[in-house]
Amino acid sequence: MSIDTTAQAADTPDAQQPWSELGLKADEYARIKEILGRRPTSAELAMYSVMWSEHCSYKSSKVHLRQFGDKVPKTDVLLVGMGENAGVVDVGDGYAVTFKVESHNHPSYVEPYQGAATGIGGIVRDILTMGARPIAVMDPLRFGPADAPDTQRVLPGIVAGIGGYGNCLGLPNIGGEVVFDQSYLGNPLVNALCVGVMKHEDILLATASGTGNLVVLFGAKTGGDGIGGVSVLASETFDADGPAKRPSVQVGDPFTEKVLIECCLEIFAENIIVGIQDLGGAGISCATSELASNGDGGMHVILDSVPLRDATLSPEEILMSESQERMCAIVEPAHLDRFMEICGKWDVDAVVIGTVNSSGRLTIEWQGEQIVDVPPRTVAHEGPVYNRPFAKPASQDLLAANTATSLQRPQSAEEFVHTVLTLVGSPNLADKSWITSQYDRYVLGNTASATPEDAGMVRLDDSTSRGVAISTDCNARFTMLNPYLGAQLALSEAYRNVAATGARPIAVTNCLNFGSPEDPSVMWQFSEAVTGLADACLTLGVPVTGGNVSFYNQTGETAILPTPVVGVLGVIDDVHTHLSHALPADGLTLIVLGETKAEFDGSEWAHVVHAHLGGQPPQPDLEAEANLAEVLITAANQGLVSAAHDISDGGLAQAVVEMCLRGNRGATLNLTGDAFTQLWSESVARAVVALTAEQAAELLALALQHEVPAEVIGTSGGTSFVVNAPEVTFSIAVDQLREVHTATLPALFDH
């Protein structure tokens, strides 16, 4: 096979090229020719096509995402902002923490185990690339209806893949979400979050500077897996008539990654590298062009040096391969021997594949011929930018008009009991331990709190009690009803969950899962959600440090519910003071903090009992969230409360039932006002706390001081969940609640 060299490209301007098959639009292809002053070689075409894909270039989202940068709140915690592999925040005592959430939706639909596994692998390498030791992972997951045949196919594989990879890496999985909804049936969402820790002075960036420095590829050998995975898988929806795309999914090897992590950490500790980049989507194309683009000069790469698993790979395939567990470092020649020695200790393959130079160009040779000669910025950072048209869909007002007001509510005690049990056993609210018990939550020995607590919490290392708490949330039904408010509600819930453990929220990451950006209705949802989130982050004073956009989540023409998953990170001085939602003793006073309004549109009750979605979501109240957080953080810090739980999906009823189940004891609620509203409204900025009678007065004073409404609603104790209200009285044994709560997932997936 002849090599398509840059010289040949210049000589044959009219040669036909498969730009369309590679996902490029005609104007994009024309722009590449304009940049290069000739047609691209096939290798250059491969690089541009994959780097200019939606997944790598954010071409449809960029104009909106700018708001996260434009609306950065005044904060002194941000050390590295958006644009790097992951943002970094100051968490005190010289520690810095980096965290990020990413999607691996499409690969996980095609091949659940490997798709989910390599999702973990990819996000962990992103965190590692910042110079951090990864310390925990989380997985926000969304599936079709729990009893649907395809959910039976994808869920067990995805869960096994997350466990199989994450457990073998030795990273505790401390939380996440599992949500079932019809809209994800043909397009499950597999998001993965990783958090890592380092000292301030150890932050690394993806940059290639210093003429004469060496480009070292290390880790796994390059194979034929995942070729075109980025551009093909992330940029097309699943169509029954399409070609089989199975081979495009990458195959992970967690053992290789574990060894690579330890090898990298040992290299970082000796301070012998200039820059580093992981190889994820778009493989060598991405790593070399980004490193060169961020550096101060150019780079020359000899592609023949790349160690291959399959000797028949073409140079284009080598450039595009997404083989996992690979890293690329920039090393000064004087440090190369030591670098190689450390790699040797860990049996990690490492090869010099190029050098940094001052040419301002990224040049790549293959068998002695030049096959790439491009300005690296045009590949990595100056991709196309689209102002996609967006418009509020006509159906939105109809949706808003169809409120939950007229839905039949429980009247009799029997109906109330039935409603409690139905919700407690519904797939979204049921016990998730069938899934989460497949993840190691203990490894590393720093886990202070893990699922099903409101937020996962780990201390930074065992020389300190300082820790971080993280929660990811999104109620996509709310976002469907109102994407601007829905995104704010996602942030509100994650923020509240972190505060409910006693940690102070300081930063935000997000994974924006939406349908096709070519659909103006989806683009409207996206634009509204980004604006809503950016505005709310500004108000709450928590900067967005990074994130990920996943478009084309749809089956045929039907998009998923807009799902902007928001992750909030908080800091706690001493993890020993954190709050659990388990009721630890009988006779504790239960207090509801926050105001309960009659808000049922988009609620879990409307969804489960009536399969209804319409109206307007609960009204966010960011000031109230901040005040509530202040009360919870202070209460935890002063040891004022014995337990705390945020009130969200399933309302107060679900929150107290979960506290009973986790503490293995009952509770009695004495409600004033409308029992149904008290029990199942999903109004924001609320939490339940349990505390001794002596502490109650102090907490009420604290709440008053922060203008947070507070009401004593009952006590812990007994063996039943008891509700006494003006119009209804009922009681359910905790044992029965547990049976209903824990039976659902095993019944669906244990076979």
Binding site: F255, S437, Y442, D750
Partner: protein, 226 residues
């Protein structure tokens, strides 16, 4: 002078730092040992930690068993040095034939992580002497291949000679024969345990402090022996 207890790190070991921490909390001096050496660095006892040595390729523990350090560990074990294999370390001890039987895939085929109740049935081994007979404890269990299996004669012999050091209580989490969670050799110096005591040694991190006694046991064993 506190006893020096080695913790071997194989490629893919995960709970090695946790084992070191547990030893330190118990009052011992942890010594990191690299799999690629045969030098035991003058240690008094050794822990083979949990994890996925060599990615569990071939069989869990099957490749680690051939690491250079294991030849030294096997020799030392035969001379009476206390050796404690936790989870993957238990698998390595079985592969090394320092303990009988094998650990196979969990009967339900899933990895499982749970707070597990155990009953300590042998309080004479190097790592369980600090427990009361039939004491019940709760420590984390986390494994994919934790189902203990051996032929009936071996199982009978383990029972008859009191070499079952711990059994699962309430729930058998992986299909282990006769609810076996851990065993010891005839001499009582080599102990394998599937659950993870090193994750139950510190208040606030783990379900209890019940794991600490495994480590304090060996420290008193060493003091009494010297």
């Amino acid at each position: 002078m506190s006893s020096r207890i080695g913790v071997v790190t194989f490629p893919g070991s995960l709970d090695d730092r946790d084992a070191q921490r547990a030893i330190a909390i118990a009052g011992g001096e942890p010594v990191a040992l690299w799999h690629g050496t045969t030098n035991l660095s003058g240690i008094d006892a050794v822990v083979l930690p949990g994890g996925f040595s060599y990615g569990d390729y071939l069989r869990a523990g099957a490749i680690a068993r051939f690491s250079p350090i294991m030849s030294s560990v096997i020799d030392a074990a035969k001379s009476g040095m206390p050796v404690f294999g936790i989870c993957n370390g238990f698998q390595v001890l079985c592969e090394s034939h320092l303990l009988p039987g094998a650990l196979t895939r969990n009967d339900h085929l899933h990895f499982i992580c749970r707070d597990q109740k155990l009953r300590i049935e042998n309080t004479t081994s190097a790592f369980t002497s600090g427990f009361d007979t039939n004491q019940e404890i709760v420590i984390p269990l986390k494994n994919g291949e934790g189902s203990y299996i051996a032929d009936e004669r071996t199982l009978d012999e383990l029972e008859a000679t009191g070499r079952i050091i711990a059994r699962y209580v309430d729930v058998n989490p992986n299909g282990s024969r006769r609810d076996i969670a851990g065993i010891t050799n005839e001499a009582g110096n080599v102990v394998g345990l599937m659950p993870h005591p090193e994750h139950a040694v510190e208040a606030g991190f783990g379900p209890s402090l019940d794991g600490l006694a495994f480590f304090t046991s060996v420290l008193s064993t060493l003091v009494n022996a010297s």
